[in-house]
């Protein structure tokens, strides 16, 4: 496997690749917001109480400004997902994933009842070793989230590391060794 992976071929093929626009199966709903808030003990009434939210300038419960939650509503969360995460699309030697950074640029607030959709684009793919895997692959992907009026709500830029397990690295080194079958 180690010799077979060609990062330059992967870069040529996948950088700039963009998925078709996918629309979330369900509108932005109260309960996933409630669960999200519960996760971090957030009891902000703007996110949780329709009566209170109605009295604010927004007039409705807002979705907390989390890129993660925006992606959930745009397709990746509710079962069954509209499509799978990008990672299997881009070949890499390892199947283990770690998110390394995220940037979210917000243009608009999200309200309960909105429908979100997403287009995703591979911005960069490169190989940079880490302590446990000298062939770790890094994928930079952008997700453009839009609402039902085709207005951009936010753009999420995510850098993800994919790597092999130490066992997989050791096995690959053994198979690469001179004299190995």
């Amino acid at each position: 496997m180690a010799g077979a992976y060609d990062i330059e071929a992967v870069r040529r093929k996948y950088i700039g690749f963009e998925t078709a626009k996918a629309r979330g199966r369900f509108p932005v709903e109260y309960d996933p917001i409630r669960r999200h808030c519960h996760m971090v003990d957030d009891n902000n009434p703007l996110f949780l109480d329709a009566g209170y939210a109605k009295t604010t300038p927004h007039g409705a419960v807002l979705c907390p400004p989390s890129g993660w939650l925006a992606l959930y509503f745009a397709s990746l969360g509710p079962w069954p997902a509209v499509f799978e995460p990008l990672f299997p699309v881009v070949p890499a030697p390892g199947k283990r994933i770690v998110n390394m950074s995220q940037e979210v640029q917000w243009s608009r607030r999200i309200k309960v009842g909105d429908y979100l959709s997403v287009r995703r684009r591979i911005a960069d793919v490169y190989q940079k070793g880490i302590s446990i895997d000298p062939e770790a692959v890094w994928i930079v992907a952008e997700a453009i989230i839009e609402n039902q009026r085709d207005e951009v709500v936010c753009v999420i830029r995510n850098t993800m590391l994919t790597h092999r397990t130490p066992e997989e690295v050791a096995a690959a080194q053994t198979s690469d060794a001179p004299g190995a079958a």
């Binding site: 971090v40 209170y52 400004p65 993660w68 969360g77 994933i97 998110n99 390394m100 950074s101 917000w106």
Partner: protein, 155 residues
Amino acid sequence: MRPAPPEWCTVRRPQLHWEDAEVGQDLPHISFDITPRRLFLQVSGSQDWYPAHFDAAFARKAGHPDVFMNTGFVQAALVRVITDWMGDEGFLRRLYFEMRRQQRPGDTMACRGRVAAKYEADGEGCVDLEVWAENPREGVTTPGQATVILPRRGG
């Protein structure tokens, strides 16, 4: 006059205005003990079913010392620090953060923020924040920056 929030809410401060923000000002911090219950809340709240965040054997096989809290959880905590501070009429324009080190079971994760800059842009009152997550074992695990638009007093 807006009605008071329900009793189950923590007390919301009066709306913060751009004029109120001062460079160097600390945002109220929050903290969490990373317990099994918090791990389950993380999966429920993020709907992230990647096993590295709840299956210790899976995490260890990948070379991690233990399971670790996911991006959705850490982001939600940073967002809470910001939204608690900026109030109903604030707008989070940008959030950037790096998952440099991990929050693991047994850690106490704190999320903090500080006003880094204050300026006007395109007629809006902007505030740049430094935000971060930390724990006693690792120090700062997740450094970040945010930009918030705050309403103007009388505006």
